[in-house]
């Protein structure tokens, strides 16, 4: 173990060389908002909500994928960061069709929570309102791409924990989608074990159990760190 000392928001902190800024910040009760990050899964820095300012670096860095370094000076909250994060959330809302009032994840949604936290009370950007499909071919689960923010938690949990690798990411830009078995309907997937982990880790109402009504999608995620630890023990 190699210790690194650094300063976050003026507070002297220390962490292991393998730890990220986000991990060290949280160990020291310093809040950094996140969306694609989930404890127990690898980090990909997809959402950029956890961006922080690092002295001497002329760009913002994602705290979830940036390792701590000796002598680092990090700022996790500033008017600039707040504006960037607020814009990120606004763009996520505008990119697809998020209608909280009729969503299964209403009041249990991390996108909604982030909007509340960042004071996003209205939208200034024009909505794209794309025509986006819903795949309800699976016997137990549905994916509504209207509500997907491409955090890839489903892709990672399926690959890293369930090890089925049913989910993947297809295409780029506005056409980007998470897909099952190279683009076949979910109900026809031969790799899906129907374990439901992807549904439990989804931060929004994009993945949900069939039959759930508005505001009924409550996620159960406490299993993840245990499963991850178990897997590491076995290795």
């Amino acid at each position: 173990m190699s210790v690194r000392t650094l300063v976050i928001n003026g507070k002297d902190v220390a962490g292991d060389a393998d730890q990220t800024i986000l991990e060290v910040a949280r160990e020291n009760s310093i809040h950094i908002p996140t969306l694609c990050h989930l404890k127990g899964l690898s980090d990909v820095g997809a959402c950029r909500l956890c961006v922080v300012e690092v002295a001497g670096v002329n760009k913002l860095l994602a705290a979830c994928v940036t390792k701590v370094e000796e002598g680092m000076s990090v700022v996790t909250d500033s008017p600039t960061l707040h504006d960037y994060r607020r814009t990120i959330i606004e763009m996520l809302f505008m990119e697809r069709n998020h209608v909280c009032s009729v969503c299964v994840a209403n009041n249990h949604c991390e996108l909604q929570d982030a909007a509340k936290e960042l004071g996003l009370t209205h939208f200034d950007l024009p909505p794209l309102e794309p025509v986006v499909e819903v795949d309800a071919s699976h016997e137990r689960f549905v994916i509504d791409h209207n509500r997907c923010i491409l955090c890839t938690r489903c892709v990672r949990v399926c690959d890293e924990i369930e090890e089925a690798h049913t989910w993947d990411v297809f295409d780029r830009g506005a056409g980007c989608r998470v897909i099952t078995d190279m683009g076949t309907p979910w109900g026809e997937s031969r790799t899906c074990t129907s374990c439901g982990k992807c549904v439990q880790v989804c931060p929004t109402g994009a993945l949900f159990e069939k039959g759930r009504s508005v505001a009924e999608a409550k996620h159960r995620r406490r299993f993840l760190p245990y499963l991850r630890a178990l897997e590491q023990d076995q290795q």
Binding site: S101, V102, V104, N106, E133, V134, A136, S137, V142, D144, G187, K210, G211, R212, S213, V214, A215, E216
Partner: protein, 472 residues
């Protein structure tokens, strides 16, 4: 040809305008009630999982979301091919009855009582609910309290006053807690006292409104509403019954599923609101009415003793099948009385606390039709789903659609009596609006209960020139 336009019509739910066409002699030749807003829920719902439909459809209306929740959930249960737990049926009834109370209270006290109490020709600036509060504080207080009574029941059961998510396909999402039941029951005596006082006030003053009652959409028509098997009034369940102006039973206990066999839907270029008609009589002769007046005409009895006494008095006073739409007001008050008693009766049954409240199933049929009574009348939902349970097609017939032909004819009747010459008269404006208010039309989910919405009226000559203009 000259045209009078009232735009917008005030103190109703939603946006509309009225045009009255005059000939060269200033005689009314036609009148139209235009619904000027477009919603598109039938299209929006396409591609959505059917379990989502009740919550989505409830967003049609902020006044009567419970009716949409029930009609939509019943449609989904047809698709699921399930019969829901009996306690869920009764719990939904309680919520729908509470909604009847609050919505009727809004219609009677907040929207219509300014005309009744202050007079149809009173100054428009003060003829609103605040004017009622100044002139008759008790009446206004009773209105606020009745609405609160209904809204609080909805909130206690569903967690929210507007758009509760509690009614779901298969039943309700969670059972009733004993404390909630007791809280609701504790409010019953006060609510009864207030509606009794209001009924007495209405009956003592009804003679003053005889002129309006004579011409407010006063014509024979068919009437449609839900009844229980024993002829009691029904709001959430029951079967459709249709009677004509003389009481002839046109149809009884009919299955709503093939409503298209007996109800036609017509689209007119001047309104976004469809007009439905009884197919056997054709369009537009197949005009029928729904809502409180129609319900009281189709039922045998209310089903609660005190409301039945009121119904008897109502029928003694007005005849067995009152035809004037003015009496929607009276019918609304009797329904409030019944609903309060019915809520008390349902909650007094210990079985109401049963915790088996939800049936679970997927899509087992490709099509479903659900019907319930909204405060304004019969509400029909009809969905088709694909093999995965995604909505392919939806059709909704809301109460105001059923009443559309009757409202148009009502406007024409009033215009014929009160429009003279080519100058706009306040008395005509007031009554043309008031006849619409009798039907308590729900044109959207907007809740323009109180406010000074602008009222612009124009007289337009044959070449489009403005001959006269009046603005409030």
């Amino acid at each position: 040809m000259t045209e009078i336009i009232i735009d917008p019509v005030t103190r109703i739910e939603g946006h509309s305008k009225i045009t009255i066409q005059l000939d060269e002699l200033g005689q009314v030749v036609d009148a139209h009630f235009h619904v000027t807003q477009f919603r598109g829920f039938e299209r929006i719902s396409q591609g959505r999982p059917f379990h989502e439909m009740p919550a989505l459809m409830a967003r049609i209306c902020g006044i009567c979301p419970v009716s949409h929740l029930i009609a939509s959930a019943k449609t989904c249960e047809e698709i699921m091919a399930v019969s829901i737990p009996p306690v869920a049926v009764n719990l939904r009834r309680v919520m729908n009855l509470a909604q009847m109370v609050q919505s009727h209270a809004l219609s009677f006290f907040h929207l219509s009582s300014p005309d009744l109490l202050l007079g149809f020709d009173a100054d428009a600036a003060g003829r609103n609910f605040l004017g009622v509060a100044a002139a008759a504080p008790q009446l206004a207080l009773d209105g606020v309290a009745m609405r609160k009574f209904g809204q609080q029941i909805i909130e206690r059961l569903g967690g929210k006053r507007v758009h509760p998510g509690w009614i779901v396909p298969g039943g309700v999402s969670h059972p009733l807690e004993p404390e909630i039941r007791d809280e609701i029951l504790a409010g019953i005596p006060d609510a009864l006292e207030r509606i009794r006082r209001t009924l007495s006030w209405y009956k003592a003053n009804v003679a003053d409104w005889a002129d309006e009652a004579a011409v407010f959409a006063n014509f024979p028509s068919l009437y449609m509403g839900l009844v229980h098997e024993n002829g009691d009034i029904a709001f959430s369940d029951g079967d459709l019954r249709v009677v004509d102006a003389a009481g002839y039973l046109v149809a009884d206990h009919i299955d709503p599923r093939p409503y298209w066999d007996y109800l036609g839907e017509s689209v007119e270029p001047w309104s976004f609101l469809k007009s439905t008609y009884w197919k056997d009589l054709g369009y537009p002769e197949g005009l029928y009415r729904v809502g409180p007046l129609a319900r009281l005409n189709v039922i045998d009895q209310m089903g609660t003793p005190e409301a039945d006494e009121e119904l008897q008095q109502y029928r003694e006073r007005l005849g067995r099948y009152p035809a004037s739409s003015f009496y929607y007001h009276h019918a609304r008050l009797i329904e409030i009385l019944h609903c309060i008693h019915a809520i008390a009766a349902l909650l007094s049954d210990p079985g109401i606390l049963d915790d088996r409240v939800r049936a679970v199933a997927g899509a087992n049929r490709s099509e479903g039709v659900g019907v319930s009574e909204a405060p304004r009348g019969t509400l029909l939902h009809h969905y088709r789903v694909d093999e995965n349970g995604l909505i392919e097609w939806a059709n909704l017939i809301i109460a105001t659609g059923h009443n559309n032909l009757a409202m148009n004819r009502g406007v024409l009747e009033v215009a014929r009596k009160y429009v003279h010459g080519t100058e706009i008269q306040e008395s005509m404006l007031n009554r043309v609006e008031a006849v619409i208010r009798c039907f308590d039309p729900c044109l959207s989910c907007s809740t323009h209960a109180i406010g000074e919405m602008p009222l612009n009226v124009q007289l337009i000559g044959p070449n489009g020139q403005v001959l006269d203009e009046l603005a409030r």
